[in-house]
């Protein structure tokens, strides 16, 4: 390693920069504060939670988490996890081959058309497709079923999987793939031995984003689920009428629902922009 320090003209800290740094810290704290406040409230007693003026220093208790975890909350949590991961698996099963095809066998005539159509399915409002699902799911017994919701959420995340993974696949050097094909490796072999290991970070980010979107989805969940396949957003929305009575428990339930997703989001940070803009920004 060279010992020569890399000096730039503006590396000395000026007072203006210091002020901006402080401002950034204050803004970051304020932006995050509602989440912090919810987590703090989750550790309060109900009396402390509704205290006026608000209490910032208090005796922490785990009672709310115990109460929430011992209620029917767990079955909603289970449904949420099952639907989020189940739908992601289905979306990957049909989406990865499609992404592979679009990335490695591109046709200047059809590929843009197919990709633009795939994207358009993500852009139309979900309410436009909601009514037939209510009617048909009720008729064929998929209403309030986990499998019905998994199939539906997979469709919502499929465009994301196709677009994101195509963009990661297309970044791979073409020679690697050609060498494998010359060796006579089939699709499954190339995919599992070469392509997926090389794009693992991208795949992880895609999975996380897909899980997050399913986990937070509400419109379809509230219309198509009930006691059997209800998800966390539906459970949480049940607190909307609790007029100041169960704030600590509400906060504990909210913390448990939000924490895994925020952690997953932080893990996916690097590829987040690519996912959110369908590969337009890298």
């Amino acid at each position: 390693m060279s010992a020569v320090p890399v000096t730039r003209g503006r590396s000395r800290i000026r007072p203006g920069a210091l002020g901006l740094n402080l401002l950034t810290y204050v803004v970051a704290f304020l932006v995050f504060f509602p989440i912090l406040w919810t987590v703090l409230t989750a550790f309060k007693t109900e009396a402390d939670a509704a205290a006026q003026p608000p209490i910032f220093i208090f005796h922490a208790t785990l009672a709310n988490f115990h109460a929430v975890w011992n209620s029917n909350y767990t079955s909603y949590f289970e449904n949420s996890a099952l639907l989020a991961f189940g739908s992601t698996v289905v979306a990957l099963l049909v989406g990865l081959p499609a992404a592979y095809s679009l990335a490695f066998y591109p046709s200047s005539k059809y590929t843009p058309k197919v990709l633009s159509w795939v994207l358009s399915t993500k852009m139309l409002p979900v309410v436009g497709a909601l009514i037939p699902f209510i009617v048909i799911y009720k008729r064929v017994g998929l209403y309030d079923s986990r499998i019905g919701m998994i199939l539906l959420y997979a469709a919502l995340n499929l465009p994301l999987v196709i677009w994101m993974m195509r963009s990661f696949f297309a970044d791979l050097p073409r020679e690697i793939l050609e060498a494998a094909e010359v060796d006579g490796a089939g699709f499954l072999r190339v995919m599992t031995r070469i392509v997926l290991p090389l794009t693992a970070p991208g795949l992880a980010a895609t999975v996380l984003l897909s899980v997050i979107f399913s986990w937070n989805e509400f419109l379809l969940a509230v219309n198509l689920t009930a006691a059997n396949s209800g998800t966390l957003p539906v459970f949480i929305s049940g607190f909307m009428t609790s007029e100041g009575l169960f704030w600590a428990k509400m906060s504990a339930a909210s913390t448990l629902a939000v924490a895994p997703v925020i952690l997953a989001g932080w893990l996916a940070q690097r590829s987040l922009v690519r996912g959110l803009t369908f590969g337009a920004v890298k």
Binding site: F29, V31, F32, P54, P112, S116, I131, M240, W247, S251
Partner: protein, 316 residues
């Protein structure tokens, strides 16, 4: 297995039937891999749109078998657009919310992005804290803001507000629109920030240095260099934001139930009310079709933008 045996027993290729060679061709592989995904999307997203359109021409109340299920042509559309005052309110509310939330979160997000686009200690931590709201479940956002923050008596906002010497305000009752806009803007500002930050990082230091050498102050630099170069990113952020925010539902459902009155009723919320409370398949479908038509205009613009960047990538 079939693959390997085929390659062993394969006769001279020129003798093979054209059909068999097609099955082994790249063209066939590319289609075979693509078809399941496309078929899935057609069945789960396109067929429902067609059905929604079909339902929208019918009179059909799910729970009332005595009201005949029959073809009524464009009646549901005529009713929604000309006779139903709530649907018109919902259109205006949806447009108003979308404009305010996209605008608000764009301005805030740009501010956040400018703050983060510098080198300073703990930059990663600040960035992580600032994107966190985007991951928060919308129903959690609404239920927490409604109670912990906006409750007229015990809420944190009124505590700050009265500490500043103002009168207590029942925010959700008196300023329902503003409350919803504030909640959603908090969620979407990080989204805008992420896209704009990526744009800012793409502006080379040389360009900035050149502007500074020419004597440009920070404001001139921002107006003449940063904003123009950010243009495509702003366009992308606005269009994507609009697509998502037009569908605003959870916050309304939890925090205001469309009220007071119809003050915060948006198109998605009104469709929900029509189908789940009135069980009116025909009218709800017509509303859904109209929602699709409104969104398609924005979707078309966004698609053109995204495909432009995609084509550039193909030719690069």
């Amino acid at each position: 297995m079939t693959e390997s045996s085929a390659s062993i027993t394969r006769p001279a290729p020129q003798i093979a039937a054209p059909r068999a060679s097609f099955l082994r061709s790249k063209r066939f592989a590319s289609i075979a891999l693509l078809v399941p995904g496309i078929a899935y999307l057609v069945v789960m997203t396109q067929a429902p749109f067609v059905l929604t359109l079909w339902y929208s021409f019918h009179q059909w109340i799910l729970t009332s078998p005595d009201i005949p299920h029959k073809w009524v042509g464009l009646d549901n559309f005529r009713y929604s657009l000309t006779e139903d005052p709530i649907f018109r309110t919902a259109i205006w509310n949806t447009l108003g919310f979308t404009t305010a939330i996209v605008g608000g979160s764009l301005v805030l997000g740009l501010g956040f992005a400018l703050l983060l686009n510098r080198t300073f200690p703990l930059r990663g931590v600040a960035r992580s804290l600032m994107i966190a709201p985007f991951f928060v479940m919308p129903t959690v956002n609404a239920v927490v803001q409604k109670n912990l923050f906006l409750n007229p008596i015990f809420g944190l906002v009124n505590w700050v507000w009265t500490s500043l010497g103002f009168q207590r305000v029942d925010w959700l009752a008196v300023h329902p629109k503003l409350s919803i806009i504030a909640m959603a803007t908090w969620q979407w500002a990080p989204f805008m920030m992420l896209i704009l930050l990526a744009g800012l990082q793409g502006i080379s230091d040389e360009v900035r240095e050149a502007a500074r050498v020419d004597g440009a102050g920070p404001f001139v630099e921002f107006r003449r260099i940063t904003l123009p170069l950010l243009g495509p990113y702003i366009e992308l952020a606005v269009l994507l934001g609009m697509i998502y925010i037009l569908q605003l539902f959870a916050e309304i459902f939890v925090a205001t139930q469309g009220g007071p009155g119809t003050e915060t009723t948006t198109i998605p919320y009104y469709v929900y009310q029509t189908i789940s409370q009135a069980n009116d398949v025909g009218t709800a479908s017509a509303q859904g079709v109209l929602a699709i038509i409104f969104s398609s205009i924005i979707a078309a613009l966004l698609l053109r933008l995204l495909m432009r960047t995609f084509r550039r990538e193909l030719t690069a």
